[in-house]
């Protein structure tokens, strides 16, 4: 028994050591840096929470957070609803070619987001994008996918394209574990396909839906790759503070404001953790009430 007791910590130690060095240490270091400011005269000085006060009144930071929050509220429901509908359709047993459809919808997940953003950027484009080409042929005005009014929707489309399949697979896998006898019993009681989906499948999907929702909170609030790439083809629309993460990046690497960048990163992390817990608490309260 003693040998066994010693083995447990040895198995978890490598992970925990790296976790400490690569997860907790950067967090601690960012928290530390955020308490200082670099001044032209006097060098680096301790300023307490001044950087946080500055960030909370910084319209560029707040604008970026607001934009990703809006993005989250619009894009995530659409994406998860599509994923849910597709998963239910696949699980219904009513589809022909179900395997081909399932894998085909999932394939975009294997495409790097850089490639996805480049591809969609070219597809949206006014020069050789097929949408612009088609409208030229038909003598219609070309849709301005990359204009100020459309940009957030165009970004939402890219992210939706990338992740519907991934979420669909998680939900579909969860559906497959519902015992078959439940459906048979319900069908015996005269329940139709919609009734079974609503009363048995949806409740069974709760944990999986919550998981996909949590991953989506994290994903949308740290939005970076797609706007960073579309920035190059639409520099007038996407500013360097379009999302909170873009802002932190440009602070650190263009502005050389290391301490303030650490503050913004830390605050953004905090926003995400708070949003995740809000999602969890809402979900739990709904279940108990």
């Amino acid at each position: 028994m003693s040998r066994q007791r010693a083995a447990g910590p040895l198995f978890v130690a490598p992970f925990l050591v790296l976790f400490l060095l690569l997860f907790l240490a950067p967090l601690g270091y960012a928290a530390y840096l955020s308490l200082f400011q670099e001044r032209l005269i006097g060098g680096t000085v301790f300023v307490g929470l001044d950087n946080y006060v500055q960030a909370l009144g910084d319209s560029q930071f707040l604008g970026g957070v607001g934009r990703v929050a809006l993005f989250f509220l619009i894009q995530v429901p659409v994406m998860l609803l599509l994923a849910l509908l597709f998963a239910l359709a696949l699980d219904s047993g009513l589809l022909r070619l179900a395997r081909v459809i399932r894998l085909g919808i999932f394939v975009p997940y294997a495409v790097p987001s850089v490639v996805a953003a480049l591809m969609w950027g070219y597809l949206y484009g006014p020069d050789f994008g097929p949408f612009a080409q088609l409208s030229r042929t038909l003598d219609l005005p070309a849709p301005h996918f990359l204009s100020d009014g459309w940009m957030l929707g165009s970004l939402a489309n890219i992210v939706t394209w990338e992740f519907v399949g991934y979420n669909m697979i998680i939900l579909y896998a969860a559906l497959r574990t519902v015992p078959q006898d439940l459906y048979e019993a319900a069908a015996m009681d005269g329940a139709g396909a919609w009734r079974i989906a609503w009363s048995i499948k949806l409740p069974a999907l709760r944990p999986a839906l919550l998981l996909t929702l949590l991953f989506s909170v994290i994903g949308s609030f740290q939005l970076f790759n797609e706007p960073n790439l579309l920035m190059k083809i639409a520099p007038d629309v996407i500013s360097s503070s379009y999302t909170a993460n873009l802002y932190a990046y440009s602070l650190a690497f263009t502005g050389q404001q290391v301490n303030y960048a650490a503050t913004v990163s830390f605050l953004l992390g905090l926003v995400i953790v708070v949003a995740s817990y809000a999602v969890l608490l809402t979900a739990n309260r709904r279940r108990t009430s």
């Binding site: 978890v12 992970f15 589809l95 085909g104 020069d127 969860a174 970076f224």
Partner: protein, 310 residues
């Protein structure tokens, strides 16, 4: 917080998941044509950009502008484009491809092994502080990796690790969700009776882990491996901030730099970087798509275990 803390109550699910692919689905005789058509329309949306990419990879810059995007031009030149992609800038694209493979494979193997050992340790051993340590890791699942990237960069800059392969590999080794998945998986997939029997036979703990446990953890292991592989392969933010030597770039950062060049060279038909960006994108997509299709049996059941059990 019952929703994110795995408990013993979730035990029996994995076995059902395991057997799911083998078990025949309800022999539902009736198939729905309208539903199939609707889903095929959805499928078309998901495959359209990739179809465009395939077509565009066969075109010269001139043809990209002059011919319709969703069909071949009169003079397809896929092979010419591929050759040019690999010879541009003294073959730097091949460097990027090999870098990506190296970063992704080392990270994925390391992360999967660390998560498997840790998950097994938490699932099958009781020791002082095990619960607190596990909850700490679980709480980290919600800490966004991108928000962590700039602090990690600042720390690595101090340690002199910036602009080395370690700057990409080390952060990818720690996968809190992978550890959670492996712990849940190990709980059912590794029966205590087998461990007991091996111990009675006098096998050491390390030998038991490498000879018996790793094999039993198979599908879960492949899942963590594959998803870390994808995460590292597709990673853009971390290498973008960590590396400034083009010879160390992974394919994502390299392609983005080419795309910026193509853009700056004027998006006009004179820009000869455009076909390289498009063809390079196509080449970078192929390996992962093939890996997913070949290993689908494993990752689908592995994902199920993670998604179902909360």
């Amino acid at each position: 917080m019952t929703t994110t803390t795995p408990t013993a109550a979730v035990a029996p699910v994995a076995e059902r998941v395991h057997s799911a692919p083998a078990k025949g689905r309800r022999p539902s005789a009736r198939r729905s044509t309208p539903l199939t058509i609707a889903m095929l329309a959805a499928l078309a949306y998901f495959l359209l950009p990739l179809f465009w990419l395939l077509i565009a990879s066969t075109k010269s810059t001139q043809d990209l502008f002059d011919s319709f995007g969703l069909w071949f031009s009169h003079a397809p030149q896929l092979l010419t484009n591929i050759t040019e992609t690999f010879t541009q800038d003294d073959g730097v694209f091949l460097h990027w491809l090999l870098n990506t493979v190296m970063y992704a494979v080392v990270s994925a193997l390391g992360a999967a092994l660390l998560a498997a050992a840790g998950g097994y340790g938490f699932a099958k051993f009781r020791f002082r502080g095990d619960r607190a340590a596990f909850n700490l890791v679980l709480g980290a699942v919600m800490v966004p990796t991108t928000a962590l990237a700039i602090p990690t960069y600042l720390l690595f800059a101090k340690a002199g690790l910036v602009n080395t392969p370690w700057a990409i590999i080390l952060p990818s080794l720690v996968n809190p969700f992978g550890l959670y998945l492996m712990r849940v998986y190990a709980q059912d997939a590794v029966p205590d009776s087998i461990l007991e029997a091996a111990r009675i036979d006098g096998a050491g703990e390390a030998r038991i882990f490498f000879r018996i446990v790793l094999r039993l953890l198979g599908p879960g292991l492949v899942t963590v491996l594959l998803f870390t592989l994808v995460a590292t392969w597709n990673n853009y933010f971390l290498p973008l901030i960590m590396l400034n030597d083009p010879d160390l770039y992974p394919i994502t950062v390299g392609l983005a730099s080419w795309a910026a060049q193509a853009q700056n060279g004027g998006a006009g038909a004179s820009s000869d970087m455009l076909p390289l960006v498009v063809t390079g994108s196509l080449i970078s997509v192929v390996p992962l798509v093939v890996a997913f299709l070949m290993l689908q049996r494993y990752w689908q059941s592995g994902l199920a275990a993670g998604g179902v059990k909360q």
